[in-house]
Subunit: 401 residues, 2 copies
Amino acid sequence: MDQIELMKELHVPSGKKIILLVMDGLGGLPGKNGKTELEAARTPNMDTLSRSSMMGLSTPVAPGITPGSGPGHLALFGYDAIKYQIGRGVLEALGIGLELGPESLAARGNFCSLDPASGEITDRRAGRIPTEECARLVEILRQITIDGVNITVQPVKDYRFVLVLKGEGLHDGLTETDPQKTGLKPLPVKPLRKEAEKSALVLNEWLDKAFELLKNERPANGCTLRGIATNPNLPTFKEVYGLNACAIATYPMYKGIARLVGMDVPDAGDTIESEIKTLREKWNDYDFFFFHVKKTDSYGEDGNFDAKVEVIEETDRIIPDILELGPGVLVITGDHSTPWALKSHSWHELPVLLHADNIRTDPVTEFGETACIMGSLGHIRHTDIMPLAMAYAARLTKFGA
Amino acid sequence: MDQIELMKELHVPSGKKIILLVMDGLGGLPGKNGKTELEAARTPNMDTLSRSSMMGLSTPVAPGITPGSGPGHLALFGYDAIKYQIGRGVLEALGIGLELGPESLAARGNFCSLDPASGEITDRRAGRIPTEECARLVEILRQITIDGVNITVQPVKDYRFVLVLKGEGLHDGLTETDPQKTGLKPLPVKPLRKEAEKSALVLNEWLDKAFELLKNERPANGCTLRGIATNPNLPTFKEVYGLNACAIATYPMYKGIARLVGMDVPDAGDTIESEIKTLREKWNDYDFFFFHVKKTDSYGEDGNFDAKVEVIEETDRIIPDILELGPGVLVITGDHSTPWALKSHSWHELPVLLHADNIRTDPVTEFGETACIMGSLGHIRHTDIMPLAMAYAARLTKFGA
């Protein structure tokens, strides 16, 4: 019996609502005056809150592991990110806002250049064609039809596009078609298991038609498919926790991941202000709110210490608005660290603040990576956060007699 | 290879004895002056001990999970409480002091009221008949005999009784007979697997005879059976740790759980004084002592901060007596938290004190939840405690070459 099964069995109703406030890429590294981005930020509201909260540090997936957005969020939602993996095609589709039903197959596509005579790949990225050219070629590929299959093709960026197929009997377990080097022909899709045979037939039919349509284009006269995957059909928040869950996010990727676990995803605009407005409007309709702040991660990726600090300070200013709603449990953390010094996601622990009744206090009086070492939560895992939030919201009954 | 298998392989003899002192429901929440029950208690002996002990905080089963007495103790004894679940019928039988052999089937029984004409249940608890009436009806049910089966029926409280069947080929995997609402007839017992078919036949025969014997009684003219379970046949302390283990406890439930893992359970009277006397008397006969203090939990359940403090102080006063015996390892903790503020078991971590030679010290100079945040044990799980105690008692050999 894993944690998901245990939660399914133990959850009970309660009037206490849970807010999970995620600042994407929150965790940082020492910069100015030896302080991290969070420590350098003026966060009077979170610091005050820390005095009546349990503080700690959380590892997203496992020590040393740098998670992508998918595993980072799944772990925050309480799902073992190693057991429940979301295929890259699915993440790419979610990232551009495509919805995936239960029988959807999604793939990342690359336009490439082929030698017209031999059919061998001469450039795996077709000279990194601009996004507009990608969009024009995608328009051409939209002519392709296959009986009984609903086909969506969407440009992403430069030479990259997404292909989504919906239809009965489409299962994953398929090889990729990119041979990974030039001088070789694109490979056919091969099924890795019996259930995937129909998918392979359909994808190869689509590829044949695509090559035919692209043959006179230059420089992109071919394409490859990678990361072909189906919707992982995760158990939903309602099933696992008995929670009516709402995701408040501004970027398609995070809305998509939230949809995968059955959260409702209302339009929340483009800013933190429009997000807090949405939280207020939806407050009475849900038990659980995933509130996502994106730009901490973006500025971390840019290596922009000051701009990341500003987003943290902006988030701090909405804390009184959140508290005014009266959540039973408020958790503040991030999905993974994106330290300015690395300009990328990293494996470092995340500071965590858990505000609720019936907590054990600790000596921590500010929200920061160093201070949280002394927190009463100790060192936890992201997958521990939801069970703890559920417990403090009086939503779990006793295990065993 | 799980932890139990590892312990079976690595244990070696040693002259060092281990005492596991369990204050039931020890963990608390801030009350008077922001202190927990343990922090408010005057515990000069444990505080002194903390200076020569490793301190820490332990999660009983998993973060957020509130354990019952069964899982809490099994975890303390080093058994994965999610893997080794004890059925409710078994716990109820243990709770009233019934011994369960390897081929015992135990069920919780409820007396109920039936409509004499239709046989449908009109009251699932027979108007909550008093315990004396329950005892009188149980006396009637004791007339029932079944070939080859040894039958025990015992009153518990109000409308509740326990039924234990012993005989060859009795296995669990059986449905309950309580339809969970009035207006429906009691259900027959059904086997959920082939091995349980004989048990179902025997239980249905017993139920038929019980209904016949009860038919003219009022208001309790029927009964239902729930939580039908067998002895989980846990690997014993002798097998797992090579320990001759003795349980010193005053309440049947804890004596019963100790018996499930093969501990001897001498009569230890009703008080902490009689328990310490028993410990002294049995000192030379065993390697391991589970010493259980019940009333910390009882007063936690009552929400009685002061009375829980007093039991902790009373326990503190026996520490010199315990140390005088010269244990190699003394662990002091609880099975689960029972904070006065919640009046129930909870999911909060337990403070842990591990006193032994060859320890790493830490800055903790008192035994309390907040102080233990700084302990050298860190945040552990209950299942970590026995391997640590075994190691400090020089009872585990090297793993691998």
